[in-house]
């Protein structure tokens, strides 16, 4: 490395923290620790340590810029207190007016992982074409290859933008939906009873 000699004393960790700040401000997507480490040419453990410094510097109520862990990586965003000012200047095309159909479709894609329009239609009981097109437009879902079994239908997955918009560190942060389990068992039991009766 041929950095010029500088007279400013630099704690190496502080130096790494500055590099991380720079990487985060130029990146368009949240950066995982490994990516930060590769770009900073340093060890992931040291990056984690430096991230704590950055997090301390860019904390809610301390700075207008806040460091957050979201969508599997680290990213800057505006502090919550500045939402009002941001709302005056910026549009939020991704989350404005999401219809019930779009939200259900999003939920299916998020929970089931890559799935095709026929998969979604089967669960919702209605065609999902316009909801899918709408979510693609907003960048909340993206193509994820083709289903090689079911006639090559295109499959969709949620995007990092989806996780970002909904403030999720990862998809595993989606709540488990166990509470409907009881209902499900009940429905199943009743159906079984009727089924047995009818086949008898």
């Amino acid at each position: 490395m041929d950095r010029p000699l500088r007279l400013i004393p630099t704690d190496p960790l502080d130096r790494l923290a500055r590099t991380i700040e720079a990487l985060l401000v130029v990146s368009s997507t949240p950066l995982p620790v490994e990516d930060l480490a590769a770009a900073a040419d340093d060890a992931p453990e040291r990056v984690e340590e430096a991230l704590r410094l950055v997090a301390d510097r860019f904390a809610e109520e301390r700075s207008g810029i806040v460091l957050e862990h979201v969508a599997g990586g680290w990213a800057f965003r505006a502090g919550r207190e500045e939402a009002e000012a941001c709302a005056r200047l910026f549009e939020r095309p991704a989350q404005r007016n999401l219809s019930q159909a779009a939200l259900e479709t999003l939920a299916i894609v998020a929970y089931l992982g890559p799935c095709s329009r026929p998969d979604i239609a089967r669960i919702r009981g209605v065609a999902a074409d316009s909801a899918v097109a709408n979510l693609l437009d907003r960048g909340l879902i993206a193509e994820a290859g083709r289903d090689s079994v079911a006639g090559g239908a295109i499959r969709y997955r949620t995007t990092p933008l989806f996780e970002r918009v909904f403030g999720l560190e990862s998809l595993s942060e989606l709540p488990r939906l166990d509470d409907v389990g009881a209902d499900a068992a009940e429905i199943r039991d009743r159906l079984h009873t009727v089924a047995e009766r009818r086949s008898a």
Partner: protein
């Protein structure tokens, strides 16, 4: 307790159960919009309010809700009609329960997402590139032209044969059974529903069942069941002044 008078307060419908049935049969209300589990819940609540278990009501309710579930199942996956019809009833019930649970989950998850959107609405972040980020010419790694041939082959791949067997599978018109049961009740004062439909296909049985419910709604017959799961006995009801709904004969249950 009279099941038909069970008051429902659903997203898609508010009123007594028998009105809901009538609207569904007349296709004025889409079953897709009706939360059947909520009907079950309402019934169970009513049941819990009573000190004694009302076996008759339970039996009647089960039969009604099963019929609705079957209809809803057909609406939920019409393209798989043939496939579903081939399943034995237990498999069909299992499959149906699975689908309903999945949809239920999707709806719950959608509610959660909506709430999350509201609570995370004050997080603003940059959507585009950084304004002064350095522009780099990203060299593309060499690629194999066979990749292009392969994606085109996949695009040209014949989709699996769509089974056309369901084209022949029409939902028999309910009116057919309205006529049949009326004729039957002119000859006999009562008959056993199961015996009468034993020879029919499952789809025909479903239509027959709907016809029976409709005739009872119109006051032309009475349904009697000694106990839950006991045979359903259908008997003629003497009607002083039978007023027939003109639309009755014209109804057919939609065939997908």
């Amino acid at each position: 307790m009279i099941v038909r008078e069970l008051e429902l307060d659903l997203d898609a419908f508010e009123g007594p159960f028998d009105l809901l049935l009538a609207l569904v049969l007349k296709e004025e209300l889409g079953l897709r919009d009706v939360d059947l589990a909520a009907i079950v819940a309402a019934f169970l609540e009513r049941l819990a309010d009573r000190e004694e278990l009302d076996l008759e009501a339970c039996g009647e309710f089960l039969v009604l809700i099963a019929a609705l579930l079957e209809l809803k199942a057909r609406a939920l996956f019409p393209e798989e009609e043939a496939e579903l019809a081939e399943l034995d009833p237990e498999e069909a019930a299992e499959e149906l329960a699975r689908r309903l649970v999945e949809y239920r989950r999707a709806k719950e998850a959608a509610v959660w997402l909506r709430e999350r959107l509201a609570s995370e609405g004050d997080r603003y972040f940059r959507l585009g590139p950084s304004p002064l980020a350095p522009k780099f010419e990203i060299p593309l790694a060499p690629r194999d032209p066979a990749e292009l041939a392969n994606v085109l082959r996949l695009l040209a791949k014949e989709p699996p044969d769509v089974s056309l067997s369901h084209m022949a599978l029409r939902f028999p018109p309910v009116s057919q059974f309205l006529d049949r049961f009326r004729a039957l009740l002119r000859r006999r004062s009562r008959f056993d529903f199961e015996t009468e439909v034993a020879e029919l296909t499952r789809l025909e049985q479903a239509s027959a069942f709907l016809a029976m419910l409709e005739l009872r709604r119109a006051g032309e017959l009475a349904i009697d069941q000694a106990a839950p799961f006991a045979p359903i006995r259908v008997s003629r009801l003497a009607k002083e002044n039978p007023v027939r709904d003109e639309r009755t004969d014209a109804w057919t249950v939609r065939s997908a």
